[in-house]
């Protein structure tokens, strides 16, 4: 068997093993990798910086455990920033496994920073069917959410006095791991004109650049790099920046894979051509 054939027919488990080793390396050796900043992340950071002294933003935590690795660092960094600035936040969670995660993050950070439910934040909770829920929230948050996640009436929270719909918050930021992002664009932005930014997974990120260019979104946090950039701007290193060295080593491995497999592929093709020519001559 020629070297290129051996290389092209490598068992998938060797590939898995090499990737696993690449991901484990930064867990043993600490590395610092610089992160370049992008304007779409800076725009989100600037808008969140304006949520000061009682101003309210709407944070939609629309992801579940399958995408939390990319989106939870964004949620943590944003909540810390808003609370540090004495801003307030209304939260909802339109992914079916999001509410318990939102509750965990929210109560942990609020506890650390001495913030109180009902005064500094209100977690509305979950309703199925994101499109319909967003539309209903546009008329009044109380239509889909007469009570919050914990069963308390929304009207009983002092923070919600005079806060009825998207007109009463500065903007909406949805951290979405699925189609809730599209729902916010169609039913939040197009219907009610609410200023909107998204934090999305790496897989989804490229799909939202047209909305950014058309002005339907004022900012975008694309995947773990977006989270890392945000943490860098916020000067609060977290899981985003912590994850970058792991990304570097695993990307290096994938790039080497691509180069190797293509070298082997072209070597095989050229050998086959040579062989074909010789066969033709004889």
């Amino acid at each position: 068997m020629a070297w290129y054939d051996r290389l092209l027919a490598v068992d998938r488990r060797w590939i898995y093993l090499i990737l696993a080793v690449a991901v484990v390396i930064p867990a043993i050796w600490t590395m610092h990798i610089p992160v370049s900043l992008s304007s779409e992340v800076e725009n989100v950071f600037e808008r969140v910086s304006g949520i000061q002294d009682g101003k309210i933003m709407f944070l939609a935590i629309d992801y579940d455990p399958s995408t939390m690795a990319e989106l939870s660092p964004m949620a943590e960094a944003i909540l810390r920033q808003v609370f540090r600035q004495n801003g307030r936040v209304v939260l909802s969670s339109l992914s079916q496994f999001g509410p318990a995660m939102t509750d965990e993050i929210m109560t942990r950070i609020a506890g650390e920073m001495g913030k109180v439910s009902g005064e500094d934040y209100v977690f509305l909770g979950y309703k199925p069917y994101p499109a319909i829920t967003i539309l209903a929230m546009g008329t009044d948050f109380r239509v889909p959410f007469p009570t919050d996640y914990y069963g308390d009436r929304v009207d009983d929270h002092p923070m919600m006095a005079g806060v009825h719909n998207f007109d009463d918050v500065e903007f909406v930021l949805s951290l979405a791991g699925g189609n809730a992002a599209d729902m916010w664009i169609v039913y939040g932005n197009a219907k009610y004109g609410v200023p909107l930014a998204l934090g999305v997974t790496g897989v989804m990120a490229t799909d939202y650049y047209p909305y950014l260019q058309s002005g339907q979104l004022f900012g975008l946090l694309p995947g773990i790099k977006g989270a890392a950039e945000y943490e860098q701007l916020n000067e609060s290193p977290g899981d985003g920046l912590r994850g970058i060295p792991y990304q570097t080593t695993s990307h290096a491995v994938v790039l080497v894979f691509i180069v190797l497999t293509n070298i082997a592929f072209f070597a095989k093709r050229s050998a086959q051509r040579k062989h074909g020519m010789q066969a033709g001559l004889s």
Binding site: R13, Y16, L19, V23, V24, A27, S66, T67, M68, A69, E70, Q96, F97, P99, A100, G125, Y126, K127, P128, A131, I132, L135, F145, P146, T147, Y149, G151, I185, V186, Y187, N189, A190, K191, T201, G202, V203, M204, A205, T206, D207, P210, Q213, S214, G215, Q216, P222, G223, I224, K225, D239, R242, G243, Y246, Q247, S250, H251, V254
Partner: protein, 212 residues
């Protein structure tokens, strides 16, 4: 719960075992993986059932009708109950009446908003005056790319002549788009794996460092 307390370590230990059990599938399919996967299905369904009960059924059906006397909630509730006829072979058609309300209302809302979002705003973002600056030139290239990509999806005429050239440029543009998507997909997928590795590492450190 303090994650380094005795109970915290026990629960994290369970989570670590679940993580390793699922990773065992990478070697090959096995009963442990299958067991955990099916357990997860049960937990997920149970969690969602209770979530729906508290955050949806209680809020929108039980409390409004039985505690607040908002009798008009009975109508949509009855329609919702009609959906259960889907389970019957004989009376399955009854569920269509409820479905008709749901589909009619949601489709009626969807049509104008999708025209606005996916067509009008996108066309508005595409058509602009092209000035002789770097941004203007890039805008011109993007405009050409959009037009050519759209022509690739136009199947009412054979892709020859001008349409052939534009659809060819279109497919090149689409390939660049998909390539960028693949690049960021690798980042996304790796991030998920990294989180599990960091979890296992932190648990290992706490365990060896005397968390118990």
């Amino acid at each position: 719960m303090d994650p380094t307390s005795a109970w915290g370590m026990v629960w994290r230990g369970i989570a670590a075992l679940i993580t390793l059990a699922i990773f065992s599938f990478l070697w090959r399919d096995n009963p442990v993986y299958k067991f955990i996967e099916r357990l997860w299905v049960g937990v997920v369904t149970g969690y969602w059932t209770m979530l729906l009960y508290y955050t949806s059924f209680t809020d929108k059906v039980r409390v409004p009708i039985f505690e607040e006397g908002q009798w008009w909630y009975i109508f949509p509730s009855l329609l919702g109950v009609l959906m259960w006829f889907r389970l019957s072979k004989k009376y399955g058609y009854v569920s269509r009446y409820a479905l008709a309300f749901y589909i009619g209302i949601s489709t009626g809302v969807f049509i104008p908003l999708t025209i606005k979002t996916s067509i009008l705003y996108q066309v508005q973002g595409t058509i602009r005056a092209i000035d002789p600056t770097w941004t203007g030139i890039m805008f011109g290239i993007a405009f050409l790319g959009i037009l050519c990509s759209l022509s690739y999806f136009f199947f009412s005429k054979e892709h020859t002549g001008v349409l052939g050239v534009s659809s060819k440029i279109g497919i090149y543009t689409l390939m660049i788009g998909f390539g960028a998507g693949f690049g960021l997909t690798v980042m996304g997928r790796v991030a998920l794996l990294v989180q599990r590795v960091i979890f296992l590492r932190d648990y290992g450190i706490d365990l060896l460092g005397g968390g118990l």
